[in-house]
Point group: C2
Chain length 699, copies 2
């Protein structure tokens, strides 16, 4: 059973420190001149700040106007036309009034802004920041700040490492039941009552509270949209726009309360899957009308829906290619259906040939998305957003940025990150991804020959989320920092990794300086450490196929997935140069094109992504490729040991359950890092026949 | 839906040719002086021989005595004390009596012998063999001729490649239902009738007919025992000796009719699993009494049970090691419980450390069974039978014979083969295993310094069967030949592979000479072909982990399973010599020990099993190791192409469904063989850096 009072459950929202502070009077007296469900959430959050850990009773008084408040301190929430504010931004201002009165004013253009202001205020209080006389204006840099769920209606989560789905948990038993009921129709038919009990669309169970807790968590870091179901839409989820729409409705009502729009992944072939048409051709008039009617129906039930997401022509998903149409034609048809309701269409760019022949060195998966989408630039409707993975492959620990960010000048682009640690340790390993995302967002694209950072080229940001029904939400407790940090970055990518870490530790663990220092060290180093003991020099993919956990150098080498290392007894790496390779480097703008294309100028960390290099090739670091492989693997392993020492120093200083559970995971990580080290080093030692300069043990 | 009238369903028992022959009169007149259910089966089979394909009506008359028979031809079945017969053996004699009368006499010591005689007679008739004046005596060489099912009660089959279990098929829905019922207890409890319907022990459905058809098939080739459930006994199957015993009873009654004893795989920890005791210590008096009572109960329900099988201390199964006891102590405790009822205990020797460290080259899985069991020789009770896999590893396409066959002079030994093609193409590839098993059974052990073949060292034979609920029983139609051949070999391993193939083709396809020639060529070459494109020189294991289908050179290289190739840029193979290796070769008797231990004398086909050899090492064939790898992989692939040509010549000459289904599998095999060829060759080309002498394309 999940203990919803536990520290691991409450995440960065325990408000532990606030409860001990002097701000109770503020929180008990609130001025707000109107009502809405989001305002209700804001008020509830202020109250909860004091109530949550023990049973302190907070008598919150709501005033419509400031006049007549007898208390000395109060908070005022108000809508404002302040020119310095943008949509969803907020201003927090502390004012000393005539007499002894003091007020904290949170103003914004809209309800979401006020709610975000409340969360921001509580963050300040929790960190014991000085409030007197402050005036803060904080506007989001992007309007679209999404998390994507890869949750299936049967309660499973694709690439989920923290338990079952929190959104569809209660569907599970029902679906099994239905299968049985179908199988034994004869008997069950005589029992209508029983049959009915299982056929109700959604078993409204206690976990709706948990969805609410989750929505609150997302809102606290500024997430304003959630795609509730897996991008791979199976037959069952296709019915979410049909007879299962009540599931969607139930969930979206909860998210609405926290200013979060619900989005739906849809099946491009839904007209066929639902049995209505023989085609899904986006230019077929029947298909166009079908989607118009369907969308109208969906919006009649969920007027506040954010829109649809589509993964088309990718990894077995249907798409416009089936009908000889291009992706603009496919996307625009759906976008037109959404347009009357203000809905947007998110279209994923993860399009490549996943049945390629490993024998053919001329095909390059890295090139696929650019080749597919750049010719269509400018052809997409205004409410279409292309969601582009950060790199050209698939969320490896290190990749170059996708060349699409430096192209597609006339198309809405969303960044796609992966919070769930599919290739980065599956929440068994600590791997704090904020520094990696920071690096990506601040990378130069040189689009149109100007300085032009990735962050400036996108109109929004999305990420596949890492939560499940584990008590601590994220499997590895420290993985909460990735969710927290993602939200903060999505709001404003100028925040530094250090600031995010510090905030998260303060809000989560409080102010013990050793805790801050050690957790900071672990988190800030963890991504590079993971890279060291897994994948050298940008090569990626040396991972067990299917589940993607643990080393398997040749796991994908002879597969149809387009993910190779091409190691032989002389060297390793994929030649993606213009002259002798696949030409992928040509998809970048200058000077990146030349930088990557040239073995001598290509950064070490991406060398093997762009070049097939000899094991004896000397890196800019002065080491040979093979020695770099050996050294980083030994180092990475040692660094995990160091993490454990740092963590063990925290015994007694943090919640015992968090301490022990995390220690257990760190030990699993150490075992795994040892495996990585020994398998990778052994493989390349056997393959190259070259000895480690330092004569360490290789098997 | 399975068509039980189809040719693929009727296997080698279509009796197609008999129907057209002149023997109807014999079959319509049978003399038999007593009744039994096995005799009933024999009579039914004789009748069926004419009736089965179309609706020919056979008026079978049964006479108690020969006197008074008016027909000229008849068959006489009789028990006999003939000294030339052993238990279950039979004699077939054709006699011309006074007047025009002719009789075929089938005599035997027991009912099984008579039934086997009937099947043998029908085989002769089906093949149009001359009957006049014949006198055949055929005694089985071994009394124990078993098939093992790795079937689970939920209907799945471990390593099954031909559909779901035919034994537990109807349990499946029930078990899902039970899970749901447990999960939703509250609602279901109000509906006792429904609950009851799902809790009945065994849903006696139409598939009992199929079990009967299966029993008949096994009996037709002399199988006299069947272990009905998976050697890995999970919690659910543990209840087969408890509240699920009716399942066992239902199944065993069917097998009884065909002279086949039912055996049960049991869980060594059953006293704990069933909640009765805290221990399974075989020397604990409570445990001893528990098994005595349990066994008594089982035999009170199934008096004819053959006995129990146990997989102990292996791959996670519990066993005597848990209590510091040895395997003789574990086995004897159970054997004592079985002894009063004439039951036997089959104890598997598949004991090894499946959590070994790949880094440690001193541990050798191949040595484990010998090390565990030889010190216990002579300590096992008389009704204990050690079941030993043919090789020291696990059913690879090529292994040396297990050294246990040359040891254990004072212990009952059973040979364990694997008909189900786990590592030999999973019934997607044609791989006729009889020549391989013949080679094993006729191998020299040199036990006690004498000529002593494996076949002479064993007291019985067992094999994991390859059937499931596919219409053709075995997934690949040609895999029926392995089941047929296994039964024939188990009866008498002196039969040649050629004779078995010829019999099977005749009985299955009839007498078309091209069919006989081509199918013969395909089958007789298929094992060697499979070896060629998969695993060179006895190395084994270069297979995808888990499911074991398709190539993955390093799939097991860094695993804990003890299954390595140790390839590096200079050479490949496991050093199992006495001087520099694991010493495994020392487990053989001389001259095998020296033969295997010496790089120069070790047979090519096992070279890499015993030695780590340079790629440049020259084989007895005159080729280098690397050239052998390249050549065999190219050849194997070409040979599969040849199989397809041979098969395509049979279009129109055999049943169309069998033709097409088999052709489809052959094409799958060709694809897979190409994968094997290219991946293995590429891997070793990259690793060794040595070019193919013939300059063929390697990727």
């Amino acid at each position: 059973m999940v203990n919803k009072k536990s520290e691991m459950y409450s995440c960065w929202l325990s408000h532990r420190e606030i409860k001990n502070s002097n701000y109770k009077e503020y929180i008990e007296n609130i001025v707000i001149s109107y009502k809405s469900q989001i305002i209700d959430s804001a008020l509830w959050e202020l109250k909860k700040a004091f109530e949550q850990i023990d049973n302190t009773k907070v008598e919150q008084k709501i005033y419509e106007k400031e006049e007549g408040i007898e208390h000395e301190k109060y908070i005022k929430l108000e809508k404002s036309n302040d020119k310095s504010l943008v949509s969803e931004g907020y201003k927090i201002k502390h004012k000393i009034l005539l007499g002894k009165k003091q007020v904290i004013i949170i103003s914004a253009k809209d309800d979401n802004g006020i709610l975000y202001g409340v969360f921001a205020l509580l963050r300040l209080l929790e960190q014991n920041k000085q409030i007197d006389g402050i005036e803060i204006i904080d506007n989001p840099k992007k309007n679209i700040r999404l998390v994507n769920h890869w949750d299936n209606i049967d309660g499973t989560v694709e690439r989920g490492f923290a338990g079952s789905s929190i959104l569809f948990e209660s569907c599970r038993n029902k679906d099994i039941m239905k299968e049985v009921m179908d199988a034994i129709g004869g008997i069950a038919a005589t029992n209508n009552a029983l049959r009915k009990a299982f056929n109700d669309d959604y078993n409204v169970a206690s976990d709706l509270d948990r969805i609410n807790d989750y929505a609150r968590m997302l809102s606290s870091v500024g997430i304003n949209g959630v795609i509730i179901n897996n991008t791979n839409v199976h037959a069952a989820e296709t019915y979410l726009i049909d007879n299962k729409i009540n599931i969607l409705k139930t969930i979206s009502k909860i998210f609405d309360k926290w200013g979060i729009k619900t989005y739906l992944s849809i099946n491009f072939a839904a007209p066929i899957t639902l049995g209505d048409l023989q085609t899904s051709d986006p230019l077929d008039e029947n298909v166009i009308q079908w989607w118009k009617r369907k969308t109208e129906h969906v919006y009649s039930v969920i007027p506040n829906l954010g829109g649809f997401m589509v993964k088309a022509d990718s990894e077995g998903r249907p798409g416009p290619f089936t009908y000889g149409r291009n992706h603009a034609e496919g996307a625009n048809m759906l976008a037109s259906a959404l347009s009357p309701y203000g809905g947007i269409l998110i279209w994923r760019c993860f399009v490549y040939n996943c049945r390629q022949d490993w024998r053919d060195h001329t095909i390059d998966r890295a090139k696929a998305a650019y080749d597919c989408f750049t010719p269509l630039d400018g052809q997409f409707l205004d409410n279409v957003y292309l969601q582009i993975k950060n790199g050209p492959m698939d969320f490896q620990v290190k990749e170059p940025i996708s060349p699409l960010f430096g192209a597609l000048d006339n198309t809405n682009k969303l960044m796609e990150f992966q919070i769930t640690q599919e290739y980065t340790g599956q929440q068994k390993h600590v791997c704090f991804l904020i520094p990696w995302w920071k690096e990506i967002l601040s990378a130069q694209t040189y689009a149109n020959d100007t300085d032009s950072l990735v962050a400036e080229r996108i109109t929004g940001i999305a990420a596949i989320v890492n939560v499940g029904n584990d008590e601590n939400w994220t499997g590895h407790f420290l993985a909460q920092a990735n969710l927290y940090g993602y939200g903060r970055l999505a709001w404003n990518s100028d925040i530094t990794s250090e600031q995010i870490v510090e905030e998260w530790i303060n809000l989560t663990f409080g102010e013990n300086s050793l805790v801050i220092k050690n957790v900071q060290e672990i988190l800030m180093n963890s991504w590079k450490t993971y890279e060291k003991y897994t994948s050298p020099l940008g090569i990626g993919w040396m991972v067990a196929p299917g589940h993607h956990y643990g080393p398997d150098v040749d796991g994908y080498e002879f597969s149809p997935w387009g993910t190779y290392h091409r190691a032989d007894c002389k060297g390793i790496g994929i030649d993606r140069t213009l002259e002798t390779g696949t030409g992928y480097s040509g998809q970048y703008n200058e000077p990146l094109k030349s930088l990557y294309n040239n073995l001598e100028t290509c950064p070490d960390e991406l060398l093997l992504f762009f070049h097939h290099a000899s094991y004896k090739h000397v890196l800019k670091s002065g080491k040979s490729v093979i020695q770099h492989i050996y050294d980083t693997h030994f180092e990475g392993y040692e660094e995990v040991k160091e993490f454990i020492s740092k963590w063990e120093e925290l015994e007694g200083k943090i919640d015992i359950y968090i301490y022990e559970q995390t220690l257990e995971r760190l030990k699993i990580q150490l075992d795994s890092a040892e495996n990585w080290k020994d398998q990778i080093n052994t493989y390349f030692h056997r393959m190259s026949g070259i000895e480690d300069e330092k004569k360490r043990r290789i098997y």
